[in-house]
């Protein structure tokens, strides 16, 4: 198989799928031209990500990566969420084909974008470094 069982499981049964009307932060990354867009919603309380939802336009691994990423940050502190690397997502998914690594990068970026949006909305200062757009190893964007 192209994808691991884990990937297929998250693709078939995405966790935390959907929109969120009262989100504290919303992040959208990727672009339709590339064929992948992820939109992530977070609900934050006392520095903890209480709830998270996502919508994804993209390939199987893009959907699985966003699903996995939401699982990995749900219930975690914002600081922990910011530590989430694409590598961790790939590992949690039992690997991704080389040309699909960019999907995990997108997932990492979607999380950061949602947090950034939460910070911006709440006037919280943050270290810009931490939000430097990770570049896609595949398309360099």
């Amino acid at each position: 198989m192209l994808y691991s069982e884990k990937v297929m499981d998250h693709f078939r049964n995405p966790r935390n799928l959907g929109k969120m009307d009262d989100a504290d932060g919303i992040g959208e990354v990727g672009n339709a031209k590339c064929g992948d867009i992820m939109k992530m919603y977070i609900k934050v309380k006392d520095g903890i990500i209480e709830d998270v939802k996502f919508n994804t336009f993209g390939c199987g691994s893009a959907i699985a990566s966003s699903s996995m990423a939401t699982e990995m940050i749900k219930g975690k502190s914002i600081d922990d969420a910011l530590e989430l690397s694409n590598k961790a997502v790939v590992e949690a998914l039992d690997g991704l084909p080389t040309h699909k690594i960019h999907c995990s990068v997108l997932a990492e970026e979607a999380v950061k974008a949602a947090v950034k949006d939460y910070y911006d909305k709440n006037g919280i200062a943050y270290d810009k470094e931490k939000f430097a757009p990770g570049s896609c190893p595949t398309c360099g964007e």
Partner: protein, 385 residues
């Protein structure tokens, strides 16, 4: 239900072809270049297969060169014509934007080697205009290579008219007929085709075997050097079992073509009708001037791969873009060439049918696709009704 609807990717070998090939592996193992009886038996079988293939194409047997497949045949035909053109100072090549990568990448490489390449546009219907071909021809045009039928959207190109123009203008004409041979009538002599490529596994024959037809008098350059096989134009011990299997499959395909075309086209048209009811969908490529088995749709707001995976879960095997580029992230160059925006081109679905498919399968596909498309639109952040 299990439905294989990726016959443009590859086909299941027909029992006739498998039998011919297995028999050959067991009984005709000789090297046809050997003088002994076992070798000469192989030489006879090879000659018979060559004659059968020639007959199916309307060619002479000594115009048939066996290759390892469609890609090699394309590479050899194009390089050869370019090289012989260059000897006479002709370094201009004409093709289209919707060719297979075996053609496009060969042209790209020749461009880097100093050739000039004109890639013609096609219309929104996926068909090249013969008038554009004529206009593109220059004094120094060495070759025109235009595919017979497109592998993604199935459109049939106006080969007869283009070949006639080439004949008048005395420019060598090659056609990649990998998707056409065995599916629609082809007669190289009657159609004035100078060179033609085909591949065994696209008409229920074996993989790893193909043909380059080269009209008598058209010079041919070797891509693979070595022994004197194929009249010195293609080295390598002849793959007799595969050649025999391909010849058997081709014979069968041609014998049943009329019947199959009608049957398959009817399924195709019903499938097109059924999928057209999905909103914001469009059929890619001309509805009529297309291969009997080709259906290619775009569904806005979704991405092809996830659609394929979900269809696969339902037992429907299809493709998105061509199989050999499925490792890539770029949307199909063919869909871009017919004018689709990138984001729409990502949402393509290719269903390619053969005579083994049934009307029941078609109805099942028509029943299953809408739900999957609508689920994917639901979870898509860019889709708003």
């Amino acid at each position: 239900m299990y439905i294989y609807a990726d016959n443009a990717g590859t086909t299941k070998m027909s029992p006739v072809a498998i039998d011919a090939m297995t028999k050959c592996m067991n009984e005709v193992f000789g090297n046809p270049s050997s003088l002994h009886s076992t070798g000469q038996r192989a030489a006879e079988v090879l000659q018979k297969a060559r004659e059968d293939v020639a007959e199916a194409l309307g060619a002479d047997f000594n115009e048939i060169y066996f290759t390892s497949g469609g890609s090699e045949a394309d590479n050899q035909a194009i390089r050869s014509a370019a090289l012989f053109g260059a000897k006479k100072g002709k370094k201009h090549l004409i093709s289209t934007k919707i060719e297979h990568h075996a053609v496009l990448h060969t042209l790209k490489k020749l461009e880097r080697e100093g050739f000039e390449v004109t890639l013609l546009d096609v219309g929104a219907d996926g068909i090249v205009d013969p008038a554009d071909v004529e206009k593109a021809i220059r004094e120094d045009t060495a070759l025109i290579t235009i595919m017979y039928a497109n592998n993604e959207i199935g459109t049939l190109q106006p080969i007869d008219e283009i070949a006639k123009i080439c004949k008048e203008k005395k420019v060598t004409f090659h056609t990649d007929a990998v998707q056409a041979v065995g599916h629609v009538p082809v007669n190289v002599h009657a159609q004035n085709i100078d060179m033609l490529s085909l591949s065994g596994h696209k008409f229920h024959g074996p993989k790893g075997i193909g043909v380059l037809y080269v009209r008598k008098g058209v010079p041919l350059f070797n891509l693979i050097e070595g022994g004197a096989q194929e009249r010195g134009r293609r080295a390598g011990t002849e793959n007799i079992p595969a050649i025999v299997g391909m010849a058997a499959a081709l014979k069968e395909a041609v014998a049943n073509m009329d019947e199959n075309m009608v049957k398959i086209a009817a399924m195709r048209d019903r499938l097109i009708e059924g999928l057209s009811t999905i909103e914001h969908s469009r059929l890619n490529g001309d509805a009529k001037k297309r291969l009997p088995g080709n259906v290619n749709f775009c569904f806005e707001g979704i991405e092809g791969e996830s659609l394929l995976l979900l269809l696969d879960e339902k037992g429907i095997e299809a493709s998105s873009g061509s199989a050999c580029t499925s490792g890539s992230l770029d949307p199909s160059h063919v869909l871009l060439a017919i004018g689709l925006p990138h984001e729409v081109a990502h949402g393509s679905l290719r269903l390619t049918l053969c005579e083994e498919n049934t009307p029941e399968q078609i109805e099942y596909i028509i029943k299953e696709v809408p739900g999957i498309v609508s689920y994917l639109r639901d979870i898509s952040p860019i889709w708003e009704e």
